[in-house]
Amino acid sequence: MWDYSDKVKDHFFQPRNAGVLADANGVGDVGSISCGDALRLMLKVEPESDIILDAQFQTFGCGSAIASSSALTEMIKGKTLEEALKVSNQDIADYLDGLPPEKMHCSVMGREALQAAVANYRGEVWSDDHEEGALVCKCFAIDAVLIEDTIRANNLCSVQDVTNYTKAGGGCSSCHEGIEDILARVMVERGETYTPGSAPKQEVSPVGLTNLQRIRKIEAVLESVRPQLKRDGGDIELVDVDGKTIYVNMTGACAGCQMEALTLQGIQQKLMEELKEFIKIVPTKVSSLTRAMKG
């Protein structure tokens, strides 16, 4: 039996806003009948103000799919489309006091139904940008497709690599056999053989970058995120590069901001994609350092 929160149970047993919305002017149909979850979200939007006057849903799915749909309609009613689109799948899960990792995709479906309905209202065509696979890592809710894609894009060759890039396998470690299976499969595609325990490829992946080229690439990445940081009143500067560790200094509003760890994680991910190697980004202030690494 799933460990559903009382809020999930409440929204399942007494779904809000269920049924057909007769005068809807934005409809989003998403989901997959093969997976057993499908959702139709109907919106009534006031054209002058873009405010969602009413929202209703119909769902073919499990308890958490119905609860996520119900929660979503409650969350977006009265919001403008712009405000509503800021609702993330994590917001939906939080609204329900959390969902089991196997069920996080129900909240993703809610978020996608919203995007589809808004696109439909605006006369645009919405297309799904990700495919979902079987859940591999239950600790961090990472599925097989994401792991496969990440291995392929970054030429990964060890479980440790996969954990570094996706977090999968970084918790209880029971899914390591599953990750090894995926590694073996994907590595065959590129003509390699998976060997357990093989260390991440050391100096091969930077594709022969000189130190100067590496630093230029790093600076280019930092440059690309700078406008975003500046918008929030902060900035970032490169302090030093020591092998796989990149030291940065967060300044302005970014320094000590609660989101600092999260921001650094995002930048780290970008740097890894750009440099095609595993790197660690470390803020130079000790207090923020511990926070970032915990994140």
Binding site: K9, P15, G19, V30, S34, G36, F60, M109, S127, A134
Partner: protein, 402 residues
């Protein structure tokens, strides 16, 4: 009423008489049956008795053909791995697409180890194609493993006949009979079945005890090596308390065999007919003319099984479903898919499995509650419109994959 339990294919309650038989073996008769003193000796005698009780239920020729294990899965793994080890020149396995994961997952693993696994397909009623089976049999086949009855639909497989055919090409035959033992009269001594798996908790014995039946003369390689327990075929100190419990449960199952096949079957039929009469767009899956007396698997179209179970649970009714969501996988039950049940129905399958403790009043209550629940969920379904499915349901709602 303390809840209505119709999930007996998942597990059963331990019969109070079984608990009573077990209790002295926790505190009074706690000895190790291998010990020389009288503490151990009495336990040894109790295990001997239990072995004979199980022998009788299975219709085995010798009591030494009964090997106690920890569960059905251990019996299954032991059987298949032994057959492969004992006949290294044979590299093929035949099984079915609708086996329990205890067999299927093991076979997927063995495939990676280099064995060739043949999966027999089933038709829309879950029946095997015997011609296909005959064709696959050869002197390359080490073992055939086919369940006696399917756990989801209750459908029987012709294992006795299949064992004869396997025997004719020198292949071993194993059957996972965890659902059948205790519900179907067995007479293994008159069959060519080499190995058979039993799970105690499916027949009112406790969890954590199983049996591997091993026909005398069948070549065997143990999975657990160590002490001399179970004649060296399954090392490890005996779970004496549970073995005693399983013995008692086997004796009681034999006594209740007629009741299971008459009264339990009657209640099952009443439940099924009652639901089908009141719920439109619902149908029985599997082969209703050839199945376990206690099992009914009904597909409710256009709604999802986990949602049904959650609402049933609110009324104190316990059943199970073949939907993807109940297992956390992305596909509905492999058994339903193998029978070609469409997704819109496969996700909405509910298995009701009765026991000899099920009552008429319980069945009446379920017949009363189920139609309301189905109607309530269909109101939420984008495939449903008023009193029936939306016109051309697959077209009325064709979501973008997400």
């Amino acid at each position: 009423m303390n809840g209505i339990y119709l999930d007996n294919n998942a597990t059963t309650r331990v019969d109070p008489a079984v608990v009573e038989a077990m209790l002295p073996y926790f505190t009074e008769q706690f000895g190790n049956p291998s010990s020389m003193h009288s503490f151990g000796n009495k336990v040894g005698l109790a295990i001997k008795k239990a072995r004979m009780q199980v022998q009788e239920l299975l219709g085995a020729e010798y009591d030494s053909e009964i090997i106690f294990t920890s569960c059905g899965t251990e019996s299954d793994s032991t059987a298949l791995l032994s057959a492969l080890k004992a006949q290294p020149e044979r590299r093929e396995i035949i099984t079915t697409t609708v086996e329990h994961p205890a067999i299927l997952t093991l076979c997927t693993y063995l495939e990676k180890e280099g064995y060739k696994v043949h999966l027999l397909q089933v038709d829309h009623k879950g029946r095997l194609d015997m011609a296909e089976y005959r064709q696959l049999l050869s002197d390359q086949v080490a073992v055939v493993s086919v369940m006696w009855a399917n756990n989801e639909t209750g459908t029987f497989f012709p294992v006795v006949e299949m064992a004869e055919l396997a025997n004719a090409v020198g292949a071993m035959f194993h059957t996972d009979a965890v659902q059948a033992v205790g519900k179907v009269p067995l007479n293994l001594k008159d069959t060519k079945i080499d190995m058979l798996s039993v799970s105690g908790h499916k027949l009112h014995a406790p969890k954590g005890i199983g049996v591997l039946y091993l026909k005398r003369g069948t070549r065997f390689r143990p999975m657990l090596r160590g002490g001399h327990q179970e004649r060296g075929r399954r090392a490890g100190t005996e779970n004496s308390t549970s073995i005693v419990g399983l013995g008692k449960a086997a004796e009681m199952a034999l006594e209740a065999m007629d009741y299971e096949n008459t009264e339990v079957a009657r209640l099952r039929d009443k439940l099924e007919a009652g639901i089908l009469a009141k719920v439109p767009r619902s149908f029985v899956t599997g082969d209703p003319d050839n199945r376990l007396p206690n099992t009914s698997n009904i597909a409710f179209e256009f709604i999802e099984g986990e949602a049904i179970l959650l609402l049933l649970n609110k009324f104190g009714i316990a059943a199970s479903s073949g939907s993807a969501c109940t297992s956390g996988s992305l596909e509905p039950s492999h058994v339903m898919r193998a029978m070609g049940i469409p997704y819109t129905a496969a996700h909405g399958t509910v298995r009701f499995s009765l026991s000899r403790y099920s009552t008429e009043a319980e069945v009446d209550r379920v017949i009363q509650v189920v139609p309301e629940i189905i109607a309530q969920l269909r109101k939420l379904s984008p495939y449903w419109d008023g009193d029936g499915p939306a016109a051309e349901p697959e077209k009325a709602f064709a979501p973008v994959y997400a």
